[in-house]
C-alpha cells in the first residue's frame, strides 16, 4: 500500500511541480507573483482539448488523413505548448509590461496578474459555458502490476516527463547564456541593462518557458484525469504557488521539491485521515515548514544593504 501511494504521490506532485515551476521562473526574474499562472494551466488544458478533438476529426473540418492516438498526443503537446506560450506572452505584453515601464509598485502588478487570471477563468466560463468537457483518450491506458503495485503507463509518462523537464530546465538556467541572463536579472535588474542584456527578450523567454511548462502540465493532467472545467486552474494554481514558496521561490530545484512535498503530503494525509481533512493538514504542515525555514527550503535569505 505504501508504495502504491508513493507512486500516486509522485504523479500528483509532478503536476504541482510543473506548475510551481512557472511561478518560480517568473518570480526569479521579475519578482512578480504571476497569479494568472494557474489559469494559464487551465487555458493550456482547454487548448489541448480543442486541438486533440480537431485532430481526431470531431469537428466538421477534418484532416485528409487519420493518425493514431500516440501521434496525435505528441502533436497536441507541441501545438498546445506553442499556443499557450503565446497566451502567456500576450498577457505579459498587454498587462505587465506597460506597468513595468511605468515603474509601478510590485503590488499593482500582482493585482493585475490576479485580474488577468479572473478574466481567463470567467471569460472561459462565459464563452464555453459551465458544462464540463471530457478529454478524449489519446493514449491507450495499459495497466501493469508488479509485486502488488498497480500503475498505468500514463502515470509513468507523467513522472518521467517531469524529471526530464527538471533536468532540461536546470541545464538551461545553469549552463546557457539566456539562463545566465535570467539569473543576472533577478540579482540586479539595473546593472543588467548596463551590461547590454536585452531585458525584454529575457523576460519574454521566461514567460515562454513558464507558460509552456504549464501547458505541458495541462495536457498531462487531462490525460490522467480527463475532466475539464473553467475553475480547474484556480485551486491547483494557488496550491502550486504555495509549493513554490515552500521550496524557496525563485529556485528551480525549490519548485520541484516543493511540488513533490505538497503531492506527498496530500496523498498520504488523504490515505491516513478522512479526505476532507486533506487541505487542513496539508496547509498546516506547510505553514509549519515555513515557520521553521521562512525563506523556503532552497531559498537564501538576502541581506539587505542599508
Amino acid at each position: 500500500m505504501f508504495f502504491q501511494h508513493f507512486l500516486n504521490a509522485l504523479q500528483w506532485g509532478s503536476f504541482y511541480a510543473l506548475i510551481a515551476l512557472g511561478y518560480t521562473l517568473v518570480y526569479g526574474v521579475l519578482l512578480l507573483i504571476n497569479f494568472a499562472h494557474g489559469d494559464i494551466f487551465m487555458v493550456g488544458a482547454y487548448i489541448a482539448f480543442f486541438i486533440a478533438s480537431f485532430l481526431l476529426g470531431s469537428y466538421s473540418l477534418q484532416l485528409p488523413f487519420a493518425m493514431d492516438g500516440n501521434t496525435i498526443f505528441v502533436i497536441t503537446i507541441v501545438i498546445t505548448m506553442v499556443v499557450t506560450s503565446c497566451v502567456g506572452v500576450t498577457i505579459e505584453r498587454v498587462a505587465y509590461r506597460p506597468l513595468r515601464k511605468k515603474g509601478a509598485g510590485r503590488l499593482y502588478v500582482v493585482i493585475t496578474a490576479l485580474m488577468c487570471g479572473l478574466v481567463l477563468e470567467n471569460g472561459n466560463l462565459a464563452l464555453l459555458g459551465a458544462s464540463r468537457k471530457s478529454f478524449p483518450e489519446l493514449i491507450e491506458k495499459s495497466i501493469y502490476t508488479i509485486g502488488g503495485i498497480t500503475f498505468t503507463n500514463v502515470k509513468i509518462l507523467v513522472i518521467v516527463t517531469t524529471i526530464i523537464v527538471f533536468i532540461l530546465l536546470e541545464t538551461i538556467v545553469r549552463k546557457t547564456k539566456l539562463g545566465m541572463a535570467m539569473r543576472a536579472i533577478s540579482y540586479d535588474s539595473v546593472a543588467v541593462l548596463l551590461m547590454g542584456i536585452p531585458l525584454d527578450v529575457v523576460i519574454v523567454f521566461t514567460f515562454i518557458l513558464g507558460s509552456s511548462m504549464a501547458a505541458l502540465a495541462g495536457v498531462l493532467f487531462v490525460t490522467a484525469y480527463p475532466v475539464l472545467e473553467p475553475y480547474m486552474g484556480a485551486m491547483v494554481g494557488w496550491k502550486a504557488f504555495i509549493a513554490a514558496v515552500v521550496g524557496g521561490i525563485g529556485e528551480i530545484r525549490g519548485a520541484f521539491v516543493g511540488g513533490f512535498i505538497l503531492g506527498f503530503v496530500e496523498i498520504y494525509v488523504a490515505a491516513v485521515f478522512p479526505s476532507t481533512l486533506r487541505d487542513l493538514i496539508a496547509f498546516a504542515i506547510l505553514l509549519l515548514l515555513l515557520s521553521l525555514k521562512p525563506t523556503g527550503i532552497f531559498g537564501i535569505a538576502r541581506a539587505q544593504k542599508i
Binding site: 518570480y27 507573483i33 498587462a95 506597460p98 506597468l99 511605468k102 509601478a104 509598485g105 503590488l107 499593482y108 500582482v110 493585482i111 493585475t112 490576479l114 485580474m115 488577468c116 479572473l118 478574466v119 477563468e121 470567467n122 471569460g123 466560463l125 462565459a126 484556480a234 494557488w238 504557488f241 504555495i242 514558496v245 521561490i249 476532507t276 481533512l277 487541505d279 487542513l280 496547509f283 498546516a284 506547510l286 505553514l287 515555513l290 515557520s291 521562512p294 525563506t295 523556503g296 539587505q304 542599508i306
Partner: protein, 339 residues
C-alpha cells in the same frame, strides 16, 4: 458646530435610511444592497490597514471574516434560540437587542485572536512569504469549518434569521441595518484615529522602510501585531454582520474569491486612503449590482476594468490621498488630526 457636521450628517442619513426601511419605502433588495455597502466598507477599510498603510500583501481576509461570522452566529443561536445542538435559549429572545452588538464584538475578538496568531510568523517573514501565510490561513479556516460537523460543516450554518426576527418582534426596527450603520461609523472612526496616531505613523514607517523605521526606534514587530489584530478584528465584526444579513453562512462564502473581491476594492480605492476605501466600497458594491444582469460576463468585465485602471491609474481612485487633500475645503467639516 462645523467640526461635528460630518457626524451629524451621517447620523441624519442613517436615520432617514432606517426610517425608510422601517416604513417600507425601500424594498428588501435595496435594503440588502445598502447593508452590503456598509459591510464592504468595513472589510475594505480594514484590509487597507494591512495592504495599504502597512504595505504587506495579505490575501486571506475572508478567513478572518469567516471566524467572526461563525463565532457571532453560534453565540446568537446559543443565546436566543432553541436548537438541537445547544438546547433552549439562554436569554429571553427580546434581550437580543442589547446582546447582539456584544456578540458581534465577541466575534470580532475571536477574529482578532486569529489575526494575532497569523501576525506571529509575520514578524519573521515579509512580503511574498506573508502572502502565503495568509493564503494558507484562509484555506485552513475554511477547511476546519468544513470539518466541524456540529456547526454544519460544508452544508453551512443557519438560523440567524430567527435571531433577527426575535429582535424585530421585540421592537419593530431593522436592527441589523442599525448595527451596520453603527459599526461602519465606528470602524471608520477607529481606523481614522489609529492611522493618525503614533501607531499609524509607525505602520506607515514600516511600509516605507522597515530597517529605517527600526533604527528610528519604531517597534516594528509590535506595529505588525497591532495592525493585524485590529484589521482582522474589524473583519470579524463585518463577518458577523454579513451572517445576520443573509441568515445563512457556509464555508463556501469565505473562499479566496471573497478575499480577492476585498482586495479589488482596496486597490480600486487606493492604498493608504480611507476615504478612497469608502468610495470604492460604495461604488464597487453598486457596480456589482448594476452589472448583475450580465451574469457571468460581469466577472469578465470587472477584472478588465481593473486592469485598465491599473494601466492608466495604477494608484487607484484616490491613491495615497484622502478626500480632504483633493478638496481642501472639506477640511473644515472633517476634524483633521494631522500635524
Amino acid at each position: 458646530m462645523k467640526r461635528y457636521l460630518s457626524t451629524i450628517l451621517y447620523t441624519l442619513l442613517s436615520i432617514v435610511v432606517i426610517a425608510a426601511a422601517r416604513f417600507g419605502l425601500i424594498n428588501p433588495y435595496e435594503q440588502i444592497v445598502i447593508m452590503f455597502i456598509g459591510i464592504n466598507i468595513i472589510l475594505c477599510s480594514s484590509l487597507n490597514l494591512i495592504n495599504g498603510y502597512m504595505g504587506e500583501f495579505s490575501c486571506g481576509h475572508a478567513g478572518f471574516m469567516a471566524v467572526g461570522a461563525y463565532v457571532t452566529s453560534i453565540l446568537n443561536i446559543w443565546f436566543f434560540t432553541s436548537s438541537p445542538v445547544f438546547g433552549g435559549p439562554l436569554f429571553s429572545p427580546g434581550s437580543a437587542i442589547f446582546i447582539f452588538p456584544l456578540t458581534l464584538i465577541a466575534g470580532g475578538a475571536a477574529a482578532a485572536l486569529a489575526g494575532m496568531l497569523v501576525a506571529i510568523p509575520s514578524v519573521r517573514t515579509r512580503g511574498d512569504y506573508l502572502a502565503i501565510i495568509t493564503l494558507a490561513v484562509n484555506y485552513i479556516v475554511k477547511s476546519s469549518i468544513e470539518n466541524i460537523q456540529v456547526i454544519g460543516g460544508a452544508r453551512g450554518f443557519m438560523g440567524m434569521g430567527k435571531v433577527v426576527d426575535s429582535m424585530t418582534s421585540a421592537i419593530n426596527l431593522p436592527w441589523v441595518m442599525i448595527w451596520i450603520f453603527v459599526f461602519t461609523a465606528t470602524c471608520i472612526w477607529i481606523l481614522n484615529h489609529f492611522v493618525n496616531s503614533t501607531y499609524g505613523k509607525g505602520i506607515i514607517a514600516v511600509r516605507d522602510d522597515e530597517i529605517a523605521a527600526e533604527i528610528m526606534s519604531v517597534n516594528t514587530n509590535r506595529m505588525k501585531m497591532v495592525a493585524f489584530t485590529l484589521s482582522s478584528g474589524l473583519a470579524g465584526i463585518a463577518g458577523g454582520l454579513f451572517a445576520h444579513v443573509l441568515g445563512y453562512i457556509n464555508p463556501g462564502s469565505f473562499t479566496i474569491m471573497k478575499s480577492t473581491e476585498i482586495m479589488v476594492m482596496v486597490y480600486l480605492g487606493g492604498m493608504g486612503s480611507l476615504s478612497g476605501s469608502v468610495l470604492s466600497a460604495v461604488s464597487f458594491t453598486l457596480l456589482m449590482e448594476i452589472l448583475r444582469p450580465l451574469q457571468v460576463y460581469k466577472w469578465v468585465l470587472i477584472p478588465l476594468l481593473l486592469i485598465i485602471l491599473m494601466l492608466y491609474r495604477p494608484e487607484g481612485i484616490m491613491g495615497n490621498r484622502e478626500l480632504t487633500d483633493v478638496f481642501p475645503k472639506l477640511r473644515r467639516f472633517f476634524p483633521s488630526r494631522e500635524l
